[in-house]
Amino acid sequence: MEDRNGSQEDSSLSSCSCSCSCSSSSSSSSSSCSSSSSSSTSVAMSTREAKLSPVIPVIKHSSLVCRMRHSDSDLEPLILSSDDDLETDDYQEGYLLHRAFEYFQNVHKKGEVMEKHLQNVEDIAWKSGLAPESIDMLLDVALNGPFADAVKARMLKCLIPTTIIHESAVVKAFSKLCATSCSNNTKVVFIRWLIAMFDFIDHKEEMNALYGFIFSFLQDESMGTYISNLLYLLTRKENVKPFRVRKLLELQSRMGMQPYLQALLSLYKSYCPNLITITLPPRRKFYYKSSDNIWQAAVFIVKQRHQSSPLLSVKPSIDVADHQPQRKKWNSGCFIPKPTSRPLFDEEQDEEAGLGMMRSAQNCIPIEQLHTFSQLLENIQYIQLPSQMCSVLRSTPLLHYLNCLQDETVWVRLYYWMIQELKEGCAWYKVSHCTSEEEFKNFLDIIISAQCFLQEGFPSSEMFLYKSLPLWDGISCRTEYLQLLSWIPLGKFSEIKPLLYKSLAPIFFTSSLYHKCSVLYSLKKLVQNWLLWHTSEVNKNPTHGTCLDITIIALNSVSELIYYVGWLSTIALRLEDYNSFLLHFILDFFETVSDMYLNYGLPLVVMFPPGVFYPALITSDTITLNHLCYIMYRYRVNLTAAKENELLHQEAKERLKFNKAYQEFNDYVTSLVDCLWTSTSLDKGHYLYIEPEILEKTKIKEIKKSLNLINHPALQPYSVYFLLQGWPSENEFSLNFIQKKKWNWYLDYLLLENLHGLHLFMQSSLNVADNPPAPITQPDDKLSETSISESF
């Protein structure tokens, strides 16, 4: 396991340096352009260079590579086309390499032939990379051979691995580096190569054994940056020793504030916070200049060629100083820090502590190195929680982790922090706040997305709602704030009641139409969340006794919430003059409600109040009427299913529960059919009965028929248009013309006009229309054939 941990750290650390490379990318890309356009100059440059300049050696034979380097988009077809030649190429390459190495090993003096071989090796290396053995050999030659510095640098530069680099080669190279009198330049090139290729080295155990030895190079100022970078990649917790810390501090006092020392020191600090303390300046982002992206480009090309996936890039986190914006106060609200591991200064790290404790501490994965879900899965038993729990909010792997933790303290920590943060940032809760509304919105968004991720609300946001809702103006941060509302957990309704009735209702009634709609929307989300939560609970352990209790609570709370929304809607419709936009949101809510029994398995059907039904029935808006019909249809389907189940289980209790819903449903269906179909709604004994004297005063002819399918204000345009389209030559027509056959055509026409809800309702309730009102008798057979889902 330790191995794996090690490599895990290494890879993530090394990728830090990879992604830092963007800082200098502009310079290198420009130089690579020049290399392709004027080859002679760039060769000259690469031979006489004093330092390693970011120049890609020119490959004469293969224009392919050049093209690949410049356009990523046509990478695929190029590779495909070159597939045929691959085998012959491979053979030739092998031969050329073999000859070149043989030559290098026997050479004693630089000459003309030498240039040719070197060129061959460069070409091959840049085109298809070198096998581990070739790298081993070339590295040996480069550091050992009697070549000029420039040649050595060129050799080192073409050490591009196809697959991996053997650790032994690196270790051997190190011993050569010290034994022979290599120039500083060569050493630098070698170290830079090592940094760039760090991920390709197969093991790091033996290299790590050389840690102290590499560390001693730090004193050399010309190599300091590179050595420090290498150490940064190589360092493990056990490498951090007091004497090394002292040495670094001494170097620091000698050389001043060097970025590379800061980086190493901050890494040491993150491993052993008890030895050292450092605060990084807020602005600096990159500690190591990485100008070696030519190597990375080369590796990428080679990798692409061999069609393996490029390295997974991970964001650097350890060395980016996470500071609050300077202008902000230290404890002002809505600041979420980055996850940092908790310093261990308790007994477990003291020297007298047992070995076991030490081991467990060492195995822990610092939170800074956790980025992906797969990393989480691999190290799940070694994860240390962050020092500030709030930092988990932005990290999905950590949220995953928290979700399976049984530790109560985690939630307590999060709770106290979040409630403070919310109160501090909230403008209407605390007057002397110093957070802008924008910041508070962003903060709420983060909390909401975490809640959505966990699929439940935090107790702190619920608490915050209770405390702050009475003070809310109904405008500030409305979208976000109302989203918090929709995540109130399912509980006893008596506890939530005051919040809804005392705090929310007054705001609802006194604010704008748009506000009313958004409140209704979030209440719809709330009821959905409750229903979903209940469903998942019941599904998790269907036999458990708690289920019954949960269901009882859910039944009560959900129905109370629906009554509440019904009450709100009734009043709101009157206040807003039966606005169809508002009606749309109300019906949306009841659409969810109508499907509770089938969609969420909650044995409950609650009808909407008359205050919603009748305005929706006598509307002049077609969409509303259609929506209403669709909801009625869904109610019917749900009630029918409930009835079937009842008959199946013979549960007298359940029947009682549904009786009221059946009654109400039948009343509504009767009204609807009376209106649209039989035109008897205004007759005596019906729901819309009005004294005939009053009706006469309206002076409307055939007033009884004024709400049927043809004359209904919401449908009249359709009937008129139907006649105009069907009988355009008729000079004079009346709507009464639609009868018998034409009536059926008209119904089909309505379906063609996408009034599916109306159609579904008529289909399911047709026999009811023919034989006047009766309770639901049996499920309609046609019902199952009609599809419901696409009707909106």
């Binding site: 501090l249 050292i276 990084l280 404890n331 957990p489 708690t546």
Partner: protein, 346 residues
């Protein structure tokens, strides 16, 4: 929900703990949520409180330390429970905090833990500074600059002081698991920048959070009444109340000073229930003062805002600053402040 008495879910593959807790009533938030749900109205505070008493535990406190805490202006903060704080590690904390402060002051230069600086940080326990035995011990943090002239025992200057305490914090203690230390009240004296540094360190290390504790006019009037009711042998200062009239460009302050004996006499005439102070009494007391003022100056103080109260016991300002003058009622003053701090963090 408690009455349901639901058996626990199976721990593995079950629901996450806090959701389960909603139904078992086992969550530490449960009680808090329940109480908040019941109150619903923001800012409800108890309508009766005990008269500040001299705590028997206070006798354990080193009188020198008490003297050190008196007559200084403290800025008030509330502090959420500290995670994994341990009284046995105080020495280690002081090393860490010292290094942290040093590193922060010279950003970019790393600092050796054991290094010697021009200042030191001292943690010390204020034993006895508690209301009941259940209250966790208070502790003091001092930043002391070493004088440069002579290293040995010459006058060390205290640059910054802060102390953490909890007096009668039962309501908070009940809800918090054992891993936490509840010291909800934090008082700081010294440069704000130092408070920021040290506060940041505490926040990072113990996953807690500092928030400025301001005192509302409502609570100030409580303080005025409570402190007037204290029995003192001799009064050091007049009872003074400061009202602020919001007007531009500068707000106008009205200072209202009363002879402390007169104030006590007024209070005694208002006060009825022994050992307790009720909301009605507080209101009446302030009303009497206001009407007296109105009779003389024709200024209606109830239309303005009370911003400062100073008596011989202590003086407090609405922006969260307090000065405690009398050692006898130290615990009493802290009890009320702890209550305010607990209210703020919950």
């Amino acid at each position: 929900m408690d009455s349901l008495n639901v058996p626990e879910f199976t721990p593995k593959h079950g629901v996450p703990p806090r959701l389960k807790d909603y139904f078992t009533g086992a969550s530490p938030f449960q009680k808090q949520l329940a109480s908040v749900r019941k109150q619903t109205q923001f800012g409800q505070t108890p309508s009766r409180r005990k008269i500040p008493q001299c705590s028997p535990l206070q006798e354990n406190v080193d009188p020198q330390k008490i003297a050190f805490l008196l007559n200084k202006q403290w800025t008030l903060y509330s502090l959420t429970p500290m995670y994994k704080f341990s009284y046995t590690n105080l020495k280690k904390y002081s090393t860490l905090l010292k290094a942290f402060v040093a590193a922060e002051k010279q950003k970019g230069l790393a600092v050796d833990m054991g290094e010697d600086f021009k200042f030191k940080v001292i943690f010390s326990i204020l034993s006895g500074m508690k209301g009941t035995h259940r209250d966790p011990a208070a502790f003091l943090v001092q930043v002391v600059s070493k004088s440069q002239l002579s290293s040995n025992n010459s006058e060390d200057k205290v640059i910054w002081t802060g102390w953490f305490c909890c007096v009668h914090g039962d309501s908070l203690l009940e809800n918090v698991p054992d891993d936490f230390t509840c010291l909800p009240l934090f008082l700081a004296n010294g440069a704000e920048s130092n408070t920021a540094l040290i506060g940041t360190w505490f926040q990072k290390t113990f996953d807690c959070r500092f928030t400025r504790l301001t005192i509302s006019a409502f609570n100030l009037s409580w303080m005025a009444a409570m402190w007037t009711s204290c029995n003192l042998e001799h009064y050091r200062a007049a009872t003074e109340l400061l009202w602020s009239v919001p007007c531009s460009p500068q707000s106008l302050d009205i200072s209202y000073a009363i002879n402390p004996e007169d104030a006590k006499a007024l209070w005694d005439s208002v006060h009825q229930t022994p050992e307790e102070i009720t909301q009605e009494e507080v209101d009446l007391f302030i009303d009497c003062l206001c009407s007296h003022f109105h009779r003389h100056f024709k200024i209606n103080l109830s239309a303005t805002r009370l911003v400062c109260v100073s008596t011989s016991v202590a003086s407090a300002h609405t922006d969260g600053k307090i000065k405690i003058l009398c050692s006898k009622y130290l615990i009493g003053v802290l009890t009320f402040l702890t209550e305010l701090a607990v209210f703020q963090i919950e």
